[in-house]
């Protein structure tokens, strides 16, 4: 029983990360019909901002050495700027393009970022010790929970509440929901399309920045492709949850975290190497039963 609860906490913690990434991808998809595979590379940018740009084998901390109250906003700001630049330079000029065109453009962005990081930092993975206290165990009853997992969970909850308040209570939030449902109609009512899209990129950047910190603290190393698997799993989470639904993205993120962790824990040891194959088979099963995802969105697929 204790073992199961321990696994459950691992699953929720991993699910939180996927949910945050999926939310970043889901926000942009909802409003722009853009499946942004470069989202993972936004996470990479946030992570590499922590160290001094050089091809040396050992990483020297740059922003990573700053105190937390400075470090967190600094990393988020860098990723937000990267996300807004991506919109301005790549996606804004092709605003009227079809969804597949946008997706392919996001692949291009992804490769450009990865190779940019490769040029500036070299190809070897770099060890980064951001916070040695991350694995301090906290006792909850008889459960031992690593500090970082608790922080991940709390951070995820705080961000989700914040985003949901933003979307429900502020003018820009309401405009964003309207634009996600019917972009053209929102424009007819005077909603500035590019402003709303810019805000979506900025929020997506903040989410990527936070994930880069949580993930780097946990993984303890950087590589120029570190964001790719995160984006892939999060994309699957978005599809499972229901394309275009933010609640769906979060639900999907936790579902994927749950499936992956439980398979890792309970598959026979011989089969564990094939964990992801089982996970994706499960995803296919879910989609066969619910093709529109767990929490289907109601939107008209028109844009600009």
């Amino acid at each position: 029983m204790i073992q199961f609860l321990q696994n459950l906490i691992d699953a929720i913690s991993l699910g939180s990360i996927y949910a945050l990434v999926a939310l970043g991808i889901g926000l942009l998809f909802g409003i722009l019909r853009l499946i942004n595979f470069a989202h993972g590379d936004f996470i990479t940018i946030g992570a590499y901002a922590l160290i001094v740009p050089s091809a040396d084998v050992t990483a020297r901390l740059m922003i990573g050495g700053w105190p937390w109250p400075l470090l967190i906003p600094a990393v988020c700001l860098i990723v937000v700027v990267a996300a807004l630049l991506t919109d301005a330079l790549v996606f804004r000029p092709i605003r009227r393009a079809s969804s597949p065109t946008l997706m392919i453009a996001s692949f291009a962005v992804s490769y450009i970022i990865q190779n940019g990081v490769l040029m500036a930092y070299g190809s070897r993975p770099k060890a980064v010790d951001l916070w040695s206290g991350a694995n301090t165990q906290v006792l909850i009853g008889t459960l031992r929970v690593p500090m970082l997992q608790l922080i991940t969970l709390v951070t995820t909850l705080v961000l989700m509440v914040a985003i949901s308040l933003f979307l429900k209570r502020t003018s820009y939030g309401v405009q964003m929901r309207a634009a996600a449902e019917d972009f053209r109609m929102a424009q007819y009512l005077g909603v500035r399309g590019n402003v709303v899209i810019g805000i979506a990129f900025a929020i997506s950047g903040i989410l990527a920045g936070v994930v880069s910190l949580l993930y780097t603290t946990q993984a303890g190393s950087l590589s120029h492709t570190m964001g790719v698997p995160l984006a892939l799993f999060a994309f699957v989470a978005v599809v499972v949850g229901g394309m275009g639904s933010l609640v769906g993205a979060v639900v999907g993120g936790f579902a994927i975290g749950m499936i992956v962790t439980m398979l890792q824990a309970y598959l026979p040891p011989d089969l564990r190497a094939f964990r992801d194959a089982f996970a994706f088979a499960f995803v296919i099963l879910v989609l066969l039963v619910r093709p529109a995802g767990l929490v289907p969105a109601h939107t008209s697929f028109e844009r600009v």
């Binding site: 309401v174 109609m185 109601h298």
Partner: protein
């Protein structure tokens, strides 16, 4: 009267499909102008072009004498035009109140927008009762009223209304028209309305344009067209006693 909108020989294509072949019309301040024509005549495209939703590849559209060609819809909305589109396009996942708030967001004066909302809700008691409901739960007539109220929240000078009676019961249509006329008096609105049928329109409109096949077939003062024969002829391409001219010159 000063021309608020001048549409000057616009052509619109959707890919290979030609929707408009040289439409010209004007709307003066304070007028009620109606465009009538059968399904596919180009009525909706004309309104969408004025509102900035589609860009003509030839011709010009001017508001207050200034060309608005190629401008984004959100810019044109700020010039004082508001579109109530065909099919209403209510934001169904938003509440009724949020739908209305979006209309008011464009305005600098938040207090005035709030006051307008209060006044509109007096006019639409059914919406006032359902403020916190998701808009998707409203009936068709209520959604049409919400679409009108939402457009009026932007405090437009010109309201473009695309087939307000589509899919509604006659009684509800009467209500919608009463409200449009009422709003026009209160808010000094100019109205440009699309309809498929001319019956109701003839009573209220100052001027009428008849569209068919993307071309203007007839334009005139409503007062001169009351017997309906000229409209029927323009609308169908033939009328009573004109069967021989079924292939009317396009």
């Amino acid at each position: 009267m000063a021309a608020l909108v001048e549409v000057d020989g616009i052509h619109v294509r959707y890919g290979d499909l030609i929707a408009l072949r040289g439409i010209s019309l004007t709307v003066a301040v304070g007028e009620i102008v109606c465009i009538i024509g059968p399904n596919g005549a180009g009525k909706s495209t004309t309104l969408a072009a004025i509102a900035g939703g589609v860009t003509p590849h030839a011709g010009d559209i001017r508001i207050d004498g200034q060309s608005i060609l190629g401008q984004r819809p959100e810019r044109i909305a700020r010039l004082g035009l508001s579109l109530v589109p065909e099919g209403r396009h209510i934001f169904g996942t938003l509440t009724v109140e949020e739908n209305l708030r979006i209309g008011g967001d464009i305005r600098r004066d938040r207090a005035a927008a709030k006051a307008d909302m209060a006044r509109l809700l007096e006019l639409f008691p059914r919406l006032a009762e359902r403020l916190k409901y998701p808009a998707s739960r409203l009936s068709g007539g209520e959604q049409q009223m919400l679409a009108v109220a939402r457009a009026v929240m932007t405090r437009p000078r010109l309201l473009l209304v695309d087939e307000p009676s589509l899919g509604l019961a006659p009684k509800v249509i009467d209500q919608i028209y009463d409200i449009l006329l009422d709003l026009r008096r209160r808010a000094n609105l100019t109205l440009l309305i699309n309809e498929q049928s001319s019956n109701r329109i003839l009573k209220h409109a100052d001027r009428i344009y008849v569209l068919r096949g993307g071309r203007l077939q007839l334009a005139g003062r409503a007062a001169d067209l009351q017997d309906g024969e000229a409209i029927r002829h323009a609308y169908f391409g033939f009328g009573e006693g004109h069967a021989a001219r079924a292939e009317a010159p396009m």
